[in-house]
Symmetry: C2
Subunit: 345 residues, 2 copies
């Protein structure tokens, strides 16, 4: 049995989408047991609307409060102890048999609470998000970090490259991820002092797997498997890609409906547009795994519907099976036991 907690509050469609997603997952995965954190009455109502569920497969953790995106993460941890997110984090920390948690709530509060209350894998400075996007040649590309850390040191960026790379290897089976550093040009000498330093660290750590600097324009080309970035620019990269794709799909739809002849032509291309829409709809890809914490944390989009929540639960299940955290631990402790490293310290 795998036990996961669902934070049912904090998203645009909470708690309905979160509860519905959890119930869909319970029906699909017999090994799954879920704890639903949130307002008991509201959750029970959602379960009734779904048509009920097997009560031996889930339990409700009553938490009447919600954390909003406007709240300071440190305040949320201190003051919102009765919130669905903080009660979920507390239970996750205290229960050896609970593996992970899924939330569509406030990102900053989630990262702060996971770091402070759940704890990082020994030797890691910071956890980081690594969402994965589809490339135009049918591959995927991960971006680590995409928003957990706005200010970063060169060593932290090096660690993001390591945990991101182990994630792609163990979760997606990409044996040698081609790693790039997000920068403002492809030339070696580009960027600020931080990026020049990180460039050297990545080259030393990853050898030929590090392919150099990458510009924002090349994310979807399929030339890279992992993009290393600080959380600020990584966030801009991922959201801009998603937003541009979405706006272009909207434009396409609006233009097609603007003239009868276009609408007629589009009739022959229905299956093509459907495929493209599915490819570019980031709701289909679930959420983003927070790498580097001692338990599994999956953060879904605030706008997640029930399908997206289901995908997030599937990500947590697959994370559990990938044994990623043990691999990260092993790699990081190997780095710290490096004799060359000891000499320096």
């Amino acid at each position: 049995m795998i036990k996961l907690i669902m934070d049912t509050m904090g998203g645009d469609h909470s708690p309905q989408a979160n509860v519905e997603g959890a119930l869909l997952a319970l029906e699909k995965y017999p090994e799954l047991y879920m704890i639903l954190s949130g307002d008991q009455a509201a959750i029970e109502k959602c379960i009734a609307e779904h048509g009920g569920a097997d009560s031996s497969r889930y339990e409700i953790l009553h938490a009447p409060d919600v954390i909003s995106g406007e709240e300071k993460p440190t305040d949320a941890i201190r003051l919102k102890r009765e919130s669905s997110m903080m009660k979920a984090i507390k239970l996750l920390r205290e229960s050896d048999d609970i593996t992970g948690m899924i939330s569509t709530g406030a990102t900053g509060a989630l990262v702060a609470a996971a770091t402070v209350r759940i704890g990082r894998i020994r030797g890691l400075s910071r956890p980081a998000f690594c969402p994965v996007l589809p490339t135009m040649d049918g591959r995927i590309v991960g971006v680590c970090d995409s928003g957990a850390n706005v200010d970063c040191t060169p060593e932290q960026l090096l660690q993001f490259s390591i945990i991101g790379s182990l994630y792609l290897q163990n979760y997606f089976g990409i044996e040698h991820p081609r790693i790039a550093l997000l920068n403002i040009g492809t030339e070696t000498e580009k960027g600020d002092a931080l990026h020049k330093e990180v460039f050297k660290l990545l080259a030393a750590e990853h050898g030929a797997d590090f392919v150099g600097n990458m510009e924002g324009r090349d994310l979807l080309t399929g030339k890279y498997d992992l993009v290393v970035s600080d959380g600020f620019s990584g966030n801009i990269l991922v959201k801009t890609t998603e937003g541009t794709a979405l706006e272009m799909l909207k434009m396409l739809k609006r233009d097609i409906y603007s003239k009868g002849i276009y609408k007629f032509g589009a009739l022959f291309m229905k299956s093509m547009f459907k495929k493209e829409k599915d490819l570019m709809n980031y709701q289909n890809y679930g959420g983003s795994v927070l790498l580097g914490t001692e338990k599994i944390i999956v953060k879904g989009h605030g706008s997640s519907g029930s399908t997206s929540v289901l995908r997030c639960i599937e990500q947590a299940l697959k994370m559990e099976k990938s044994n990623l955290n043990a691999k990260i631990s092993e790699y990081i402790s190997g780095m710290h036991n490096d004799p060359a490293d000891k000499e320096d310290n």
Copy 2:
């Protein structure tokens, strides 16, 4: 007569695209006189290929050397004095009757040379790029800075908001540009210490015209006229938008050609796809104006063809007519004469 210098080297299609673009501009604008900087023989060859030009309308500034993107900007200024870019900058500085310069060459070297040799408008800390992109509702949105400054102070970001805003007013006639700060979330308290500080400065300076933080995903929605950012994240924003749009157009084309029925349907939509391709083809928009230097500097894409170069020259001509630099001078000196400001100093 308006005299402009064209740096004919350093782009992917140099010198052909640069010379051809300059000759097209001379034919279109009788008030224009151009100085073509670069290898004399190569430029003459391009002119001959074009079928000649009126020799009273242009002159060649012989410069045998080229600056590559791999060179450190400070080295380029010191060591590449015979390059097309540095000779152009030198002539621009020394000649009162030459108004501006267009280059498709190395961005870093251009910014450094313009800052050091041409000089900034009095009171401005740094020049900044402000490219303009088309939004999905038929408007435009500017991004300032998009790559001239990788490390910025809060005061510099405030200045970018001012020069960007004056540019949109005086060049594009947008009376009250809606200004947003590029950030990782829309909430007030988002981002690192720098962005929280800039948020306050922008609110104080622009009042109701400052509409708050913007996420990468909303650039093309038409909700904003000017996005303020440091040059690093602004560069990621602009290039990611351009790259995603380009990759999606490629996907559309590839998918249409993958099946006969799609190709058939697309026949009825030819004019629609053409319009969309033109809208999203950033080559049609010329280059990016460098705001804040004492003379006009327009930087074209490295990949510019002759049409894009022509657009860059048109931008320089329109800049000249907009009288923007005088407006910036006036605004900045007004800020410095502010009694409240004097008290602090």
